[in-house]
Amino acid sequence: MSRTSPERTGLLARVYALDPDVILIDLENPSRDELEQMFQVSRAVKRPIAMFVDQSDTASIQASVDAGVSAYIVGNLQKERIKTILDLCVSRFNAFSRLQGELDRAKSALEDRKVIDRAKGILMKMKKLTEEEAYALLRKTAMNENRKIAEVAQSVIMAAEMFK
């Protein structure tokens, strides 16, 4: 297959070399359609069975597609093992996106903290407040306005910039 691209040759060659029982593919990968053709035309992949052949377990299938992964079962893998592998894969995908979410939240919390600290400093200086009083004022305003403390702090900073 000298005329196919390196990645694509690699894909096919790896499948042959590894002779896997199961192929898992990220649904964001456009090459998924190429795999479909491979399963149709390839005699080397002995008994290609798509995951969705087993229609009874739709909840499991739905969970996997929802999590962003699909599975192709290529070997003579037993049904129970397929389910275990897929469930494991789904939980790992979900764990990954949970970690990603936590990381994003932590980053934004850190950002909020910086903004609040700056606003506290401004209030302490302009209104001659202690740090506790400045924070209490921010929190009270946020509650009254039904906004986040970080949003109120942002407004304080913006106002201070304008009064400079």
């Binding site: 691209s5 694509r8 359609d33 190429e34 479909e36 399963f39 798509a50 739709t58 299938i61 739905q62």
Partner: protein, 389 residues
């Protein structure tokens, strides 16, 4: 209170009616709140529709049949109440293959029979010189592109399984693959043929409308069960699509349509490229030659939006011809039942009269006898190159 639906699509010009139905507010006016989900592969669109993550989808026509027959995957009956596009594909070849075809041609390669026979000569010469077979890109095993390429080249005596290689490539990878020589040609929908021409790396050899005057391309597909459970929502969805298709076909709206489709979360190419596609005013060679064909892509004109079961029969016949499906009367009936002109008529009314100038057999192929949807055996008997089991 409006009904919420999730609809999947692939960024292609033949998703136009769907995208405009949502972005111009035709769906909202029908009380439908649509979440559009842009997908990267037909496998994803099919699976998400099948298992209920999508309520409806922009579907490549043969996938709807394959899904309903359980070919290559699980069996989930799909129905199509609306045709998203007729025609719209083109075959693009590398400058080297274009020159080789022109040299080998007896006549003008603009004629698909002349070009197909020229391809047979090029293939024979490469074989004699022990060169690698030519590689053609298409989008999916169950795709119009696969069948269009096969129908064209086989008519000229080229066996698509023995004489050349047909490989699946995602549409956005087509141009790059032609550029770096991984394929010598491809068949794909708009805008990718134009993108290759604009880059100076491809010549559009044929519009598919030159090979088949009328070829169903994409459908609005829903699960049969969903259609049965939500007849009112479905009717409103079809109505919104019909209004959108009319809007697109009014040339006065084309600039606005092209601008909406050009958005990065829609098709994401220059509005001018989309405009050329909708107008059928296509640049076919890097040298700046244009070819006009008002039939290049039919969004709502000439009854294009009303599903025609003759198209289903033709596509099923190709599946049989190329060994993807067994020949059976039951399967033919099931394939035809995917196309639901009755649902279309119930939502927007039956067209008063047939459209003038359309092919009598509903297909208008450049080669072979007229197609008879009730006698696909005759169609299959007409060809020597085939893979029937």
């Amino acid at each position: 209170m409006s009904d919420r639906l999730r609809i999947g699509f692939i960024p292609l010009a033949d998703a136009t009616a769907l995208l405009i139905a949502v972005d111009k507010g035709f769906c909202a006016a029908q009380g439908l709140d649509i979440e559009l989900v842009r997908e990267v592969s037909w496998s994803n669109v099919r699976d998400k529709l099948n298992i209920g993550l999508f309520d409806a989808a922009h579907l490549i026509a043969p996938v709807a049949i394959a899904s309903s027959l359980g070919l290559g995957h699980i069996k989930v009956p799909i129905v199509a109440p609306f045709g998203l596009g007729v025609n719209g594909n083109a075959i693009t070849v590398s400058p080297a293959l274009h020159a080789a075809l022109r040299d080998a041609a007896e006549g003008a390669i603009r004629d698909p029979m002349v070009s197909a026979r020229a391809l047979a000569r090029v293939v024979a010469r490469r074989k004699a010189q022990d060169e690698e077979p030519l590689t053609f890109g298409m989008t999916f095993p169950f795709s119009t592109h696969n069948y269009h390429l096969r129908f064209w080249m086989a008519a000229g005596g080229v066996d698509p399984d023995e004489d050349v290689r047909l490989v699946v490539l995602p549409p956005p990878y087509m141009v790059e693959s032609l550029q770096n020589g991984h394929v010598d040609a491809f068949c794909v929908g708009a805008p990718w043929n134009s993108v290759a021409v604009d880059l100076g790396i491809g010549h559009i050899l044929h519009f598919v409308s030159e090979i088949l005057i009328r070829a169903a391309e994409k459908l609005l597909g829903v699960r049969q069960r969903w259609a049965e459970e939500n007849p009112d929502v479905l009717a409103r969805l079809v109505r919104a699509h019909s209004q959108a298709a009319d809007f697109v076909e009014d040339v006065n709206n084309r600039d606005e349509v092209a601008a909406l489709l050009a958005a990065p979360n829609r098709i994401g190419v220059a509005p001018e490229v989309i405009r050329r596609t909708l107008d059928g005013h296509m640049k076919v060679s890097p040298g700046g030659i244009y070819r006009n064909d008002p039939r290049y892509l039919l969004v709502g004109r000439a009854g294009a939006a009303r599903p025609d079961p003759v198209q289903a029969a033709w596509l099923y016949a190709q599946m049989v011809r190329w060994g993807q499906a067994p020949l059976s009367r039951e399967m033919l009936a099931l394939a035809k039942a995917v196309w639901r002109p009755d649902l279309y008529d119930a939502a927007v009314g039956k067209p008063a009269a047939p459209f003038p100038g359309e092919p009598a057999d509903g297909i208008g192929a450049f080669a072979g006898p007229a197609f008879d949807a009730n006698d696909i055996e005759a169609h299959l008997a007409a060809w020597t190159i085939k893979r029937m089991g």
